[in-house]
Symmetry: C5
Subunit: 257 residues, 5 copies
Amino acid sequence: MDRRTPPQTEEGWYVLHDFRSIDWDAWRDAPERRRSQAIEEGVEYLASAERLEDAEAGDSATFSVLGHKADLLILHLRPTLADLDSLERQFEHTALAEFTERADSYLSVTEVSGYMSQEYFEDDAEVEDAGLERYIESRLEPEIPDADFCSFYPMDKRRGPDHNWYELPFDERADYLSNHGEIGKGYAGRVTQIISGSIGLDDFEWGVTLFGDDPTDVKELLYEMRFDPSSSRFAEFGRFFSARRFPPANLAAYLAG
Amino acid sequence: MDRRTPPQTEEGWYVLHDFRSIDWDAWRDAPERRRSQAIEEGVEYLASAERLEDAEAGDSATFSVLGHKADLLILHLRPTLADLDSLERQFEHTALAEFTERADSYLSVTEVSGYMSQEYFEDDAEVEDAGLERYIESRLEPEIPDADFCSFYPMDKRRGPDHNWYELPFDERADYLSNHGEIGKGYAGRVTQIISGSIGLDDFEWGVTLFGDDPTDVKELLYEMRFDPSSSRFAEFGRFFSARRFPPANLAAYLAG
Amino acid sequence: MDRRTPPQTEEGWYVLHDFRSIDWDAWRDAPERRRSQAIEEGVEYLASAERLEDAEAGDSATFSVLGHKADLLILHLRPTLADLDSLERQFEHTALAEFTERADSYLSVTEVSGYMSQEYFEDDAEVEDAGLERYIESRLEPEIPDADFCSFYPMDKRRGPDHNWYELPFDERADYLSNHGEIGKGYAGRVTQIISGSIGLDDFEWGVTLFGDDPTDVKELLYEMRFDPSSSRFAEFGRFFSARRFPPANLAAYLAG
Amino acid sequence: MDRRTPPQTEEGWYVLHDFRSIDWDAWRDAPERRRSQAIEEGVEYLASAERLEDAEAGDSATFSVLGHKADLLILHLRPTLADLDSLERQFEHTALAEFTERADSYLSVTEVSGYMSQEYFEDDAEVEDAGLERYIESRLEPEIPDADFCSFYPMDKRRGPDHNWYELPFDERADYLSNHGEIGKGYAGRVTQIISGSIGLDDFEWGVTLFGDDPTDVKELLYEMRFDPSSSRFAEFGRFFSARRFPPANLAAYLAG
Amino acid sequence: MDRRTPPQTEEGWYVLHDFRSIDWDAWRDAPERRRSQAIEEGVEYLASAERLEDAEAGDSATFSVLGHKADLLILHLRPTLADLDSLERQFEHTALAEFTERADSYLSVTEVSGYMSQEYFEDDAEVEDAGLERYIESRLEPEIPDADFCSFYPMDKRRGPDHNWYELPFDERADYLSNHGEIGKGYAGRVTQIISGSIGLDDFEWGVTLFGDDPTDVKELLYEMRFDPSSSRFAEFGRFFSARRFPPANLAAYLAG
């Protein structure tokens, strides 16, 4: 068999999903002074990251994670891997870190691909379509939506003997993804997504982060997508994380229960 | 292949299965005063949740889990994810939490789907069938049955090359589920179930919680279902948890062995 | 496809395989007084369980587990799940528990099924065959054999696209199991088994506990069975535990190395 | 399908691969006196096991394991499971054990099978072939080769719908294994193997322990075998452990880095 | 089926990927004196390894790992397994080790195979092609490239019923790999790789370590390769680790965040 044509891609910001568990026993036992310091330094770290004091571009947000898998999700988008590496380690030097353990993480980078717009890649000339350009920029350098709920999961495309995404012709893959994308449009204004690539960066091929005020909108979108051949035939999912956003200033309230 | 028609769904209460292990070594070593306080605050948390003092609707129950996977299952149903997020963190602030560790959890939301009643979804008019309406309400806002035994497991429908639930026509899926549901009717009065959806919320697609006074009724029901094509051909199961309900007031007796 | 006929089943005693690891570091460091107390309370718990002081029926036994998976297997059979729940928690209140951690467990219930004797189930009349009745009683309320070696593993029957146990006609399943059972008869007097069902109770469908004085008899029996289509085509195995029985009175010698 | 003929087997010594991790933090922190005692008791345990002071037959050896999976492999072969059970627990009573944790283990028993020599099993008469007899004895009661490098892994034969070892006719299996064995002969003098069966004893069906002075000889042998249908079509491998032998007397040097 | 012809291989240096997590809580709490000592001994160990003070040949490098899987990757290439065994244990005797835990590791050995150059293996005469000789030497005794980014993952070739690498004729495998290698040439100067074999040494068959200044070059290379039949049809991947190189002298800055 011949090698299939890969899509061209362009990468934007690197993305770190940093999942942390709170050591609630330590928190309950800590004297008021240390708790105050942890909150102060935690708020400073989170707010500083959201204000982008460490870099010239990017975005950050803080979430409360439901269930036992983690308690906090700190989401960072930055122009370089060095930025993320630094942010990850700087957290460890806050007094808040003493009350957390790393529960999971995911490393990826925002991307646009030739599936979406071959013209964008094929044409050396500048993109004349201002709307397309803005759209592409919004995918490469996305603002984290201001929504209450967030769902994250990593995913692969199947490479099985029966259904092998990587052995489909380019056009067939582009069709699958175009149809798949149509579903999302029906949820415009209710669900926003950040798709980031992770081949060579982490264990799956993509990270999917969905945002919406109503969790059932996200559930319905994903349920509808599961019936789309792009998912039903080719998707392999990792673990799912459900989280609720809160502003850094609410850290004390979050930790108080 | 064309995209298959997803069922319409309506969601009700969010569901958190909160599994905790007791740190028996710490419990044995704790001075009487701290044990009393843990019991007092534990009973207060559990009873308050069962009395719905934190929300306007929902239900909660407490169970003793058999085996090494966990010791306690605290089951909460509430109208919003914020309610569950809050309940989960409030537990950590009780003196009882000091003697527990999170062993597992599952996040889902009650749902009814168009497989059960297409009329309910297709008709803009109000449901005229009062019986159907009551049934749907009992699925969206279920009362936790007052039964001794509870079995919980998460599950997926298969998306394999041979048997792919998500590539079946709608009517075929509805038939499978209708036949599957018939089995349950034979156990009416002996086994009650809460089915909750978790696509985009947790690692599987559904959570199944079965209640009955006699565990062998649950076993027989699930054994019979395993021979039904809806299960034999399409079901993938996660871990199974077996638990016995106890009233919060019995927490001291539970901890005393 | 039509739903296949499930076998009727009758359940007997609930079974808990309680695997514990010894914290040898803590044991070595403990003062003689605490070790004596741990041995005393441990012997009392184990001997009391074997003497059935907690229930009107059942059986219990203690084993030393080979390898790193666990050190102790405490096996309990009791008429109710409440009995097992209580036994499991009572152990935690002995001074011995301080030196152990839960390594694994398995919950199941003894069963006889219509594969073995359809007459037993189909006929409302009393079983007239006294031999059959005694045999069925020995399966539902088995005495733990007094043998040196014990091997435990949980198992499922396959539900794959090629070989799906749950889509076979009843008679074919009964034939498979009848032939499979023949193998065991060749080991009568050397290997005894307790088969217990765990659908809805734990992660697999059955638990298999084999007893014999010579471990190579168990190995040969299972090797022979592996070539039988019932296993070669349909069996999925969990982890295997090998253990050697010892009387509670020998706990001190066991802990002394 | 009919049941396939299992090979007859004869078992020899039981084999315990006891993998331990060193708690290097505790080791660095320990006062010289406790380190001396740990070394003294460790050397005594290991040397005593190698000198067979605990049993009338068998063999033992000590290895340094590469990588994070473990630090020590203590390999014991003994005539009875009771011998291994005792050796495993006796180690826990040395001062060295305080600085180790169990990382993994594998339980098996040496075996010869009818694939190798049907005559040996079929003929009631004594084996007249003195060479065969010595060979069989060397497999049932093997001496641990005095080689620098050791590679251990457990393995299964596949029972898939396409390739099912346990549904092949006896002669076909014997041919596969005979051809497979030919490969090993090309490495005579460079690689020696101990094959031990573990059906009913541990999670896989066999343990394979290979010995050689040059690790690349072992790598080449296994690479060559991987192209042999017996492996390419039927082998499922567990984890691989690489280790280097050292004499008990060198324990101090080993712990000193 | 006949046994397929394995490629001849020649092995060079052994490779240890030693992944460590920093215990940040302990680091924050440590007095300045112990931190200084840890940095001093850590720098000395890492710099000494990079200067090859422990061996006559090889290479070493230090990396910061992104995400929760690990914090440090210490990469060693050495002529013998004894060298790696010693380096691994010597690290444990530094004051830095007190603040680290082993998170993962991978053991392999550099190799060239007959797929690349049959002449090299088939011809007893010396290789006359000086370019080929230099190339082979660069694969057997590679210098770790001086690049900012490093991606590591282990991999297997599939042995499934549909696509079985080990049942392909030699020439077909050589063609697959030749085409696969062509992709890499398009990234010359941007991405450098070290391929090392691990059959019999560790859990997968190969380790792949990619180096480049721009992580998106590595991502693009691997994405393009994923469409090549050698990957799309035959590759099974383990976990992926992303890391950034830093000189040992920067250890203090690294630990300071």
